[in-house]
Symmetry: D2
Subunit: 346 residues, 4 copies
């Protein structure tokens, strides 16, 4: 059986497993005070070009979102997200559990625009009852989005500029950042993120580590006592060096392994897309990254499902349905070839 | 200047002020353990026809909503509300501050239907990722709604039935209940609410008390330690007898004063509507209660604004805008007559 | 029956009831945007001598504590309180409900010292594991304390100085402030509180209003969006002018009525104490304010209980127990005389 | 340098690293829906003898404590802990962050007794103001405690019985359970814990896994929607099979590896203790598990510190200080021998 359900089905890139094994019996102090973590953070700090930033290694994506958003917002402040954003749809109310409302802007294939944010804030400010409403204080976007799409540098700069003008912090969810940065269509760099975002994270879990998300906060004052806040959020790993070692491996030599993992995932995704196109099926969304969506006749879906696993995107329709295929650093060329063989002709 | 901004601009019905003054120097125990409170609760308990219910007197509407919803929901459970619901729009994230997400269903003039709730739950249950989403466990509706509209008994029964079938608690916000029950178009009684709702409140603040909202919870098990929860929510009034005395006055003799206040407000609202219609302006919403909405040319609005205060409903438009006029128990016949004089002909 | 259970058993000072009645049918805008509130806040602002402070009128004590503390603390920050402090013992976990830990210092008759705070912080800072502990960021004290005792100006200045040195905000619970300021033994003024405290409140409920606590926050930056935070906390009164009018009445003419209420309560308390002393019973605590504590033989307690209500302070002992008698602005001279008659000779 | 700072300084038992490497490129579904997790849970379920229990694999200890306690408590309910309990001292307010107060009972070397709990509850119930206080609804204990001590089966049964009589849920923190169960002085089994505790967890992190804590909840009704609650708490591992595989390895063949790891740690600890005793230093606490405490002259401490790392237990004293040495499954016989050589004679 072939697997395209998600980008976290395999373990870690073998290079990581090797280093875990090699260093296993070393004794290091806990909670991220080890030298692996120090190195990993320094590598990321260098990459962002901002040596004042605070860098912390957390374990998972939802955890990172609620820990960071909970730290940066105060009392009645709220975060604006695309209505398809992970924090709004698929985090079980984790942000609200920290006491903060998630406000939404309708997204186009996962993306929102600077103009939408500006309009939202103008409407809010023009509302006589604004003081009775949760105060928008942050914008959350995903890169790539939940639909595999990317913001261009120009779009991101416009969003960042709008955020600054309306005193909104900009937070970018980089759970799949590897597959964004590695895409040919991407003109954004980590340095850009460091410059434009008040906070963002570099996802490890989907990119080839066993787990781990590396958070960058632009300035320590944004989240006072953030280490203790991580502890309080249940997000502090006792054997923190496991995170350090994995990200050090990923980030060494100019993010070599991280980008390589990203490139593999994207290449496989484009090959997968080509395989569908070759059979006459156009993608439902023009995604340049490792998630590919197709609206297919149910009969086609059922046929492919005999050989491969993947997810429905929304409910199964009467005649046709939209499905998602996800590749990753662990997808092999022959997986795509095998899949291509079981896709019937349109 | 005439005032139609809201239904809480005056103090209390004179009968209440009189009793407050007459009993002012009495010494009673605190926190609602006095006999006034006991009487008020017994009167409401009788009216609901459910002597197992728990009745508590709180101070304000947002406070009541967050205290009750926070008590009835657990952990990842969420409340479904119309997207125009007060808890979603105008409570500054008070529900989210208790850790719970507010999910929304698009409303039609403030109302949602049993069919919409059913569809929402079917979609939720059919979603493969439902366990990663906040769990819908309650439905919130307002009666009358934020647009002055009412649910019929049949609609309410259908909603209650759907809630039961999907294990959703039904909670009804009765901030303006007086103006609902007193409307000719209303076929719902307090006994119906006691039968159909898992929790609801009878609003005092807008109906003629200085403040106060009387909460009915169908069964004590729904909210264990609710008294202590009220205290913890900062919602416990030290001189609780002030609430008891006001509601006792309102509820005595079969809710006589409560319904009288409601009737006055509705009569004035209908007279106000007639005054607009007489000048050729049709209401924007067909509201049978104490809130009336009109979309008027800005010139008309500006002219009326010289003699009366009222609220814009949404932003001011380029040529015309929607405005809201609210009456109450304290609106006098001559106020409407005076207003009628300043409404220009369409 | 005589009543000495608490200082919130009667309604309000008659001057307040009179003004409530006289202004009852006025129409004012809601939520504290009325001119009564504006006046009350200006009077208090003047008294503190700090025109940059933010002043807000809330409803009750527990509500005020959790709303203010919740606004001033962030994430993992905690508040240090005497172990007898109201927020630690008798607020049903309201502070914890906002997500913040209450740390404690052993109190001496309700009071803690600057030296204790300094030692606490030195120990905390010297603890290698401090980053894994809630971060002390505020000190809470009551004035008068829960035992009726007072801090001297010198003690308060030392505490404020220690707080400043350790970056702790100083918050003072003035639920019974009237009975403190009016005591002969008090050398602290409202201006001192405005100078020394980062936040404090002037209690109305126990001092002669129906309800209400007036909060002073030294600088608006300490609690951004505080109005919205009040709303979110369920602490915003719709008919806010009720609070404004009561405090305006209290604070007019240099806090005339407020201090008069305080003085009456203290005079009655000292007369009550003298009545006990005359019968040979010494107070358990040397309290210069309106709460008086006595450890009495159970037989004496039982005898007095036939004519008066009061509270046990802790559990009833085998032979003797400690009880508390509370006076207020509403206690009459003849109440003390009547009580004196039923106190047996020791 | 020798390391005795904590029991989480090394990676994982080599058997775990081997299996991680061997299974690394397998593709499994996420979030604990894989067969490794299923097996691990079944093994633990068998061991507890309660097939109705809910078993979930979480990542870390503080996370587990706040997730479980937050799920089992409602609104104003609080948890009673020893005043030395990890949740009270060293979790940065994580429990309070879920809205619940931690109440304390003075511990004797980490332990509390059934009699203390009974007295606490009797005092609470006898307090006239109990409804204004957080409601004790759970007891938290650690096994072994933070001081290395153990409850006997008889003590545990008495505590469980007292909890049942006062409607308190009993929750046991088993972060170091391996070192408890493997101690000769322990007469408690996992089956006993399954019988006596309403919830407990079996610690992996300190016992030889890379990370992971296995939670047992006696009945699913205690924590409705617990999976979603885990997600909301940021405690759900995407690659859940990593937890499953580690605990399956630990629990296979009757907890063979788990107990072996425990035994190694305890043996080394007793050897370490003997080494100190041989030099004339008695332990400060009679601990039968993997933590050993000594009060030593500072000169002795400084000498040992040249060759070994360990922690101060409390602040360094003027002449002598208390220090803690922790062993684990990863401590080697020669580590103890090397340490013995650098301990001076008393």
């Amino acid at each position: 059986m072939l697997h395209f359900d998600s980008d976290y089905m395999a373990g870690a890139h073998p290079a990581i497993i090797e280093r875990l094994a090699a260093t296993n019996l070393e004794m290091t102090p806990g909670y991220g005070t080890d030298s692996y973590t120090e190195n990993a953070c320094a590598l990321l700090s260098d990459a962002t070009g901002n040596h004042l930033s605070s860098i912390y290694l957390l374990i998972g994506g939802t955890q990172t979102n609620s820990t960071v958003i909970g730290a940066l917002l105060r009392g009645p402040e709220a975060v604006i997200a695309p209505d398809t954003g992970h924090i709004f749809v698929h985090e079980a109310g984790a942000i609200e559990a920290t006491g903060h409302k998630v406000l939404t802007i309708p997204s186009d294939k996962g993306k929102i625009t600077a103009a939408q944010i500006e309009q939202y804030m103008k409407d809010f400010n023009a509302d006589d009852t604004w003081e009775h409403m949760a105060i928008p204080a942050m914008v959350y976007i995903s890169f790539p989005t939940e639909f595999g799409t990317l913001y261009s540098l120009r779009e991101l700069e416009a969003i960042a500029d709008t955020c600054r003008r309306f005193s909104l912090k900009l937070y970018l969810d980089g759970a799949r950042l590897a597959y964004g940065l590695a895409s040919e269509w991407c003109d954004v760099t980590i340095k850009d993120l460091g410059r434009l975002c008040d906070a963002f994270y570099v996802g490890g879990t989907k990119a080839g580590t066993l787990f781990g998300e590396a958070v960058v906060i632009k300035h320590p004052d944004y989240a006072p006592h953030f280490f203790t806040h991580i502890k309080r959020s249940g997000a502090l790993l006792a054997k923190g060096r496991l995170l350090g070692l994995q990200f050090e491996t990923m980030f060494a030599s100019g993010f070599k392994l991280f980008l390589e993992c990203g490139r593999t995932g994207v290449e496989r995704a484009l090959a997968l897309r080509a395989a569908f196109e070759a059979k006459g099926f156009q993608p439902a969304i023009d995604s340049p990254t490792n998630q590919q969506f197709f609206t297919l006749p149910n009969a086609v879906i059922d046929k492919i499902a005999k050989s491969a696993t993947f997810e429905y995107w929304g409910p199964r329709g009467k005649e046709s349905s939209t499905v998602r295929f996800v590749t990753s650093w662990a997808t092999k060329e022959e997986d795509i070839a095998s899949l291509a063989k079981v896709i019937p002709i349109a």
